[in-house]
Amino acid sequence: MAAPTRKKKKSPGKKSEATASGAQLLSVLNDDGSAVIGGDPGLAKETLLSLYEWMVRTREFDRRMLMLQRQGRIGFYGPILGQEAATVGSVAALDGEDWIFPALREGAAALMRGLPLREAIAQLIGNEMDRCKGRQMPCHYTYKEGHYYGMSSVIGTQISHAVGAAMAAKIRGDKAVIAGYLGDGATSSNDFHAGMNFAGVYRVPLVMICQNNQWAISVPASKQSASETIAIKAEAYGMPSMRVDGNDVLAVYQATRQAAERARRGDGPTFLELVTYRRLGHSSSDDPSKYRDEEEVKAWEKRDPVDRFRRYLSGKKLWNKAKEEALNQDIADEVNAAIKAAEAAGPCAPETLITDVFAEPTEQLREQFAQVEEVNREQTGEFPL
């Protein structure tokens, strides 16, 4: 794949277009839910309502799954409270043919792409309904029909995969755009540099979306990098970038839409830094009170993305208390039914221990499995146990 010769382009004048700028932050919504003057993208009513519904569903799903974890019904959970706008706004701005390479807190993207809720919950449990066949820790969804890829737990490796997929899309002449997600911590990884560099060199159809939620487990973004912003790092890779208010679903939607259109036109990758905040621990195993000030969390609660967007919709007379109650009830019913269905599924079949290592198990794998089966039958008379 030839690295295209770059022409110097005039830098776009409008504030909302991607530039290699530093600290400027794209916002559409004010905290009171009003739109900044001239900033309202004027989305169709159906789009607005769908964005809101997904944010509420994401929040309720998240709340209930954390609760299941606390009750011992699932082993682990990585909550996304406060980051709903970042995932919902960006995924909604993509086309169905576009691919999603998520990090830990983009699970809602799989749901938006059509992963049935019960299958998502089955993934968290790790049973026979789980598409991963119980082989991954919770929050590692996979959904190929929706072009949602199943990540590993290694930070940053998905960046190069997103770039590689974008290279492949370009080689094949497809119109698909690749969305690659990462967190602030991943900007320190090898793959961030390698992937960003390749993306810039080959000018691939890619939107890199960094959810800067300020914390990589216990390490604040200020200790992750001495760079003034994360967005500015893109400049060194010849890639335009934008800092976006990640708690503002309209700003996220608008920025992603522009970046995806740019990629689809063949104008190359864009880097988005979505400035947001992780309000809970890194995971159900983390206690953030050990390393951060509650005051900081409270300050971000005031910028809650769901509340802000609800105020915007109310202001436009698109939303009211009755609609809110009906939606909450529908989603609660939906989640309850999905939990019930997922918990009713049986355990993973023992044979899945050795399938999918390769397309066909090797002789060695069959032999290893047969030995375990024999031992169990001999000693307990049963298999599976």
Binding site: M1, A2, W99, F101, D130, R131, C132, K133, R135, Q136, H140, T142, Y143, K144, Y149, G150, S152, V154, T157, I159, S160, H161, A162, V163, G164, A165, A166, M167, A168, A169, I171, R172, N190, D191, H193, A194, G195, N197, F198, V201, T355, D356, V357, F358, A359, T362, E363, Q364
Partner: protein
């Protein structure tokens, strides 16, 4: 049939598959116009264009990570790592990503890709151009590991690797890139992975060797013949999956086994072969298993000849299986 070197056979295999399947792409450092530092990709960019054969920035992590992404999307990437010694910045992408993709996604996503890399010593390359680190990859579930020793096998195994549905480490013995010459079938030629080759039939002792060690043990077998000992040589060709049957059948016949590899001895692949024989054919053994290997040292520069297995050491290994 055409006579060619092992290096030319690798080139012909890629050319054949690029013509055969437009999903096949070849990339890596200096593989484009230059045709690779050894010349294995010579002419591919001219023939297939720079969308199908292209140079990359100097980053093994980037080469291997983007190869995974290309495979996920539906291409059949062949990533060249210039020397196996340089692969470690991309090790994570091989062992944590490519090797785990099918399993972790329950079979939804797969990584049909080939990682080609010249490996091994004997070329005055010092520590960073000589290592045989095949054992790291054999120890990683989800990876196939293939090492040819002849031009015909190079073409046939590389074509099979490119068509395989899983990631394959295709390690090329650079020491014999140009010295191994032989007849190679023209056109379609596939050697299935997981099938070893009887290099030479014999009755007194089995020698298991792969890559550049195969021509070496062939010389040793001739020496042994002068002493009245008949050597059988087995080249497993793929270490994963391994043709255990072929090795076990041979050892059951001869009652003796010498395993030869360049890699350091401790946890080297020879240990695995020895263990399989001990578990499944110990009652057939008439003497101890012998290993002739590299040393548990970093690969030396000045003392390379002392480090590498040679005919004398192979002969000593054979003797140990008879005299104990």
């Amino acid at each position: 049939m055409s006579t060619m070197t092992l290096l030319e056979a690798a080139n012909k295999a890629m050319q054949h598959e690029m013509a055969n399947d437009e999903r096949v792409v070849v990339f890596g450092e200096d593989v484009g116009l230059k045709g690779g530092v050894f010349g294995t990709t010579q002419g591919l960019q001219n023939e297939f264009g720079d969308d199908r054969c292209f140079d990359t920035p100097l980053s093994e992590c980037g080469i291997l990570g983007t190869a995974v992404g290309m495979a996920l999307y539906g291409l059949r990437p062949i990533a060249e790592i210039q020397f196996l010694d340089f692969i470690y910045p991309g090790f994570d992408q091989i062992v944590s990503e490519a090797a785990k993709m099918r399993y972790r996604s329950g079979g939804e996503y797969t990584c049909p890709m080939v990682i080609r890399s010249p490996y091994g010593g004997g070329i005055r390359g010092g520590h960073y151009h000589s290592q045989s680190s095949e054992a790291y990859f054999c120890h990683t579930p989800g990876l196939k590991v293939v090492i040819p020793s002849t031009p015909a096998d190079t073409k046939g195994l590389l074509i099979a690797s490119i068509r395989d549905e899983d990631p394959v480490m295709f390690l090329e013995p650079k020491r014999i890139y140009r010295t191994a010459k032989g007849e190679v079938p023209d056109g379609e030629h596939v050697v299935p992975l997981g099938k070893g080759r009887v290099v030479r039939e014999g009755s007194d002792c089995t020698i298991v060797a792969y890559g550049a060690m195969v021509p070496l043990v062939e010389k040793a077998a001739l020496e042994a013949e002068k002493q009245g000992k008949s050597m059988e040589i087995i080249d497993p060709r793929s270490l994963v999956p391994l043709d255990e049957e072929l090795i076990l059948e041979s050892v059951k016949k001869t009652g003796r086994c010498v395993i030869v590899h360049e890699a350091p001895r401790t946890c080297g692949y020879g240990g695995e072969i020895a263990a399989i024989i001990a578990e499944k054919a110990i009652e057939y053994l008439e003497g101890p298993i012998a290993r002739v290997t590299g040393f548990d040292t970093p690969f030396p520069y000045a003392l390379e000849n002392l480090y590498m297995p040679d005919v004398r050491r192979v002969m000593s290994g054979i003797a140990k299986t008879f005299n104990w």
